[in-house]
């Protein structure tokens, strides 16, 4: 196809091709503002979340809001499904060992009572339950079929070389409750990041939403909520008008998570994207 420019037009556009650099002081001011904004992403993300229905003015946005709400539901359902269909953590969980540690691997929700009960008795021995979340994950992954695991004490040693120091650092004020709270922290952190992304998206602040997605990806490249993160990213890109990127990511999402509960939503979003 002929895409040669008429020489007269080319000559007329020449001054634009040679446009000089913008005033350095002006750029410097923009750069400073920019750095401040980037350095404090939480300042942008944290403020009181407005209700998702805050500004449904644009027609595209209202669809997006709807999607966001549905996404929240999808997160819960999807995570629950993941826990059931995923790497089957439950058989590893049985009662003998620091059960909450094992449960923390894949349980998407707080998993309330069962894990706590077995831990209540050991109040007599040294406050061993102070196993850090990181260790908790390691322990669970390192012992895939360890139902008849060694006694509690020995496993504690094996998993936690720093065990003696930990109790002194953290006063075991509530030894029975601490362990049950801890295994949730990584997942909570993941969930918190994505929540920030969703809140930002609901505010139509898709830049902050994508920042949260990126932060999640850096912190949890293969996190338990990676699927939700990837879906949120597609939504953020679409909201920002990055149609090509949204399409590409959306298609990658559908390929990567063919069984996803969010598949229908992403599918619909892709269909709505302008060509």
């Amino acid at each position: 196809m002929d895409d040669e420019l008429d020489p007269a037009l080319a000559a007329l556009l020449a001054p634009e091709r040679d446009a000089p650099a913008v005033d350095a002081a002006r750029l410097e001011a923009v750069r400073k503002n920019l750095e401040a904004a980037i350095a404090a992403p939480t300042a942008v993300l944290d403020p009181s979340p407005q209700p998702p229905s805050a500004a449904p003015s644009a027609p595209a946005a209202s669809g997006l809001m709807r999607l966001t709400g549905m996404f929240a539901l999808g997160l819960v359902v999807g995570a629950a499904g993941y826990a059931t269909l995923g790497p089957k953590p439950m058989p590893l969980a049985p009662p003998i060992e620091p059960a909450p540690v094992v449960l923390s691997v894949r349980s998407p929700e707080p998993d309330p009572a069962p894990p706590v009960a077995p831990l209540a008795p050991p109040a007599t021995s040294s406050p061993a339950p102070s196993s850090a979340p990181a260790r908790a994950v390691v322990s669970a992954q390192a012992s895939p079929a360890a139902s008849p695991a060694p006694p509690a004490a020995s496993s504690g040693v094996a998993l936690a070389p720093t065990a003696p120091t930990a109790p002194t650092v953290e006063p075991p004020a509530q030894p029975a409750l601490e362990p049950s709270a801890r295994p949730q922290t990584l997942l909570d952190e993941e969930r918190g990041l994505l929540e920030r992304g969703r809140v930002a998206l609901a505010r139509r602040d898709w830049v902050s939403s994508l920042e949260a997605v990126r932060a999640h990806r850096q912190r949890f490249p293969k996190g338990q909520l990676a699927e939700e993160r990837d879906a949120l990213e597609v939504q953020g890109l679409a909201a920002g008008g990055h149609t090509a990127d949204a399409r590409r990511r959306g298609e990658a999402f559908l390929a990567a998570y063919p069984q996803s509960m969010l598949r229908g939503r992403i599918d619909a979003l892709l269909r709505e994207l302008p060509r």
Partner: protein, 168 residues
């Protein structure tokens, strides 16, 4: 990513691109910031085997479209003239600024989606396939927009002739 270097290398380009897309001078600083916030957020998605400028232009273009929607400004006012650059001599700078102001005035008559293609092709010198990729449009659409943009521009120039040297 050396974000500072990216900003230093491309900030002027983004400024000019926004001006060509019809963003008023008093909004440009904010929008340049928004563009680079987006660059920062999306940099992972940038395919480094492709040229950077069409990619960053596409971001500027979308930021500009959103700005237009927000301000309800689908038809542009005449382009304000920018302050002449201090880097050239005063005479050349003034002349250059005037010439650019006229070009931008003519560009304002070109529908913005078409204009984006024209800017990338006829000012930035990008290839049509690259433009189509950056803007996320089919190749034929890119060609078609370019053709129509040039026709719009030519019509604007016929209505209000310009000369290449900048003198009206």
């Amino acid at each position: 990513m050396d974000f500072r270097r990216i900003f230093d290398e491309h900030a002027s380009y983004v400024f000019h691109s926004l001006a060509r897309l019809g963003v008023p001078n008093h909004h440009r600083d904010d929008l340049v910031q928004e563009v680079f916030m987006t660059v920062h957020a999306l940099f992972e998605d940038y395919d480094q085997s492709r040229p950077f400028r069409p990619w960053v232009f596409a971001i500027a273009y979308r930021v500009c479209l959103r700005h237009r929607r927000k301000t309800g400004r689908n038809r542009e006012l005449l382009v304000e003239s920018d302050a002449p650059s201090t880097e050239a001599g005063p005479h050349e700078a003034l002349e250059g600024a005037e010439a650019r102001a006229r070009v931008r005035e003519a560009l304002a008559n070109v529908e913005v989606h078409r204009r984006a293609v024209l800017i990338l092709k006829d000012i930035d010198g990008q290839s049509i396939p690259e433009i189509a990729h950056a803007l996320g449009i089919p190749l034929n659409t890119a060609y078609s927009r370019l053709r129509l943009a040039r026709a719009d521009l030519a019509a604007a120039l016929t209505a209000k002739p310009l000369t290449a040297g900048g003198a009206a």
